[in-house]
């Protein structure tokens, strides 16, 4: 379906750009730390001894950033591979956790914290045969819906639940929120909600407003047909 394809590339670009920005930040820190060390060392051997601690801290910082950088490239790599096939078998929990990591940066910019609800240990993993990129897009779009109505300092919990045989993802908003009705209205009138509906349609699933909690319930079929 053309509609489904339309936004995929843009989404990919968006996420990739996000990761890349973070990488640039990593590199910037490394550069600064290294620059600082260089400055200190250039002054004199005595200065080195005087500012030993600073040098050591710089080194630690560099190491930390490398670890962070490696994590980022891992994420990028994994996300890049979600485009390998149109339809693939995915682990919903894994994908949700992945997406949450990818979206952290965007959440941070909105001063919202993202958390995943740990899966039910007893329950078997939820696997779907579906469009990997679009699942990412659906989760991301739900987050964006929440961002529009949440204020700074809020938190979003994302958890998987099997609901009457359907695979559901609950995106629950916490924090300072308007009343349920107002909350629902604001979300359903937003552009992000329209986008989310389109994406859910492509996935042959649905996106509803949660009646009990402030949140969105996404549900997906076990397998989608072409």
């Amino acid at each position: 379906m053309n509609k489904c394809e339309d936004k995929e590339v843009a989404f990919f670009g968006k996420i990739t750009a996000g990761i890349t920005h973070e990488l640039k930040n990593v590199l910037a820190i490394i550069r600064e730390s290294s620059g600082l060390m260089g400055d200190i060392i250039s002054i004199s051997p005595e200065a080195i001894i005087k500012h030993q601690e600073k040098i050591q801290n710089s080194i630690v910082r560099i190491k930390d950033q490398i670890e962070r950088g490696v994590n980022l490239t891992d994420r990028l790599n994994r996300f890049a591979h979600s485009t390998d096939e149109t339809l693939s078998k995915i682990d919903l929990q894994e994908t949700t956790e992945q997406l949450v990591i990818l979206a952290q940066r965007f959440a941070r910019l909105k001063h919202v914290v993202l958390k995943t609800v740990p899966p039910d240990q007893e329950a078997p993993p939820v696997t779907l045969v579906t469009r990997h990129v679009q699942i990412h897009m659906a989760l991301f779009a739900s987050l964006e819906c929440c961002f529009t109505v949440m204020s700074a300092g809020g938190e979003i919990n994302i958890g998987i639940r099997k609901l009457e045989g359907k695979n559901a993802v609950h995106v629950v908003c916490k924090g300072e929120l308007p009343v349920q009705t107002e909350f629902s209205r604001d979300i359903s009138e937003s552009k992000n909600w329209q986008d989310l509906q389109e994406i859910a349609a492509c996935l042959q699933g649905s996106a509803h407003l949660d009646e009990i909690e402030h949140g969105i319930v996404l549900s997906f079929p076990n397998e989608i047909s072409r």
């Binding site: 490398i66 490696v70 490239t73 891992d74 790599n77």
Partner: protein, 123 residues
């Protein structure tokens, strides 16, 4: 473990020479080869006790060198270094007889531990 003769093979010069320096600081004898051919020459001329080998190299690739070593000097344990997306090469290397593999960027403590294990596993 002191003065253990190690051969490091990697085409990334900055990386491999720095790593060699760090290993030397820890009391190991580290030599460096920047490509497969040089590595083979050094192994023949001055046999190391263990080889740390990067899989992705231009010219004679890491796995080729591994095959050669296992054919000519099978007693030398080999530890592979792979990129984070190339675990396939690591597994293939294990099948070809490598002791283990590590993903770059490496943790030097981990590397030293692996070297110890490899040496101890020798009969």
């Amino acid at each position: 473990m002191k003065n253990l003769k190690i051969l490091l093979v990697d085409d990334e010069e900055e990386f491999v020479t720095t790593l060699a320096e760090r290993l030397e600081l820890r009391g190991l004898q580290a030599r460096v080869a920047l490509n497969g051919e040089a590595a083979l020459q050094i192994i023949e001329a001055d046999t190391p006790e263990i080889v740390i080998l990067d899989v992705l190299m231009p010219g004679l690739g890491g796995l080729e060198v591994l095959r050669w070593i296992k054919a000519q000097q099978p007693q030398i344990p080999v530890i592979l270094l792979t990129g984070r997306g190339s675990t396939k090469e690591g597994i293939k290397g294990m099948e070809l007889g490598a002791f283990d593999y590590l993903m770059k960027p490496i943790n030097i403590e981990e590397l030293i531990k692996k070297i110890q294990e490899a040496i101890e596993s020798q009969p």
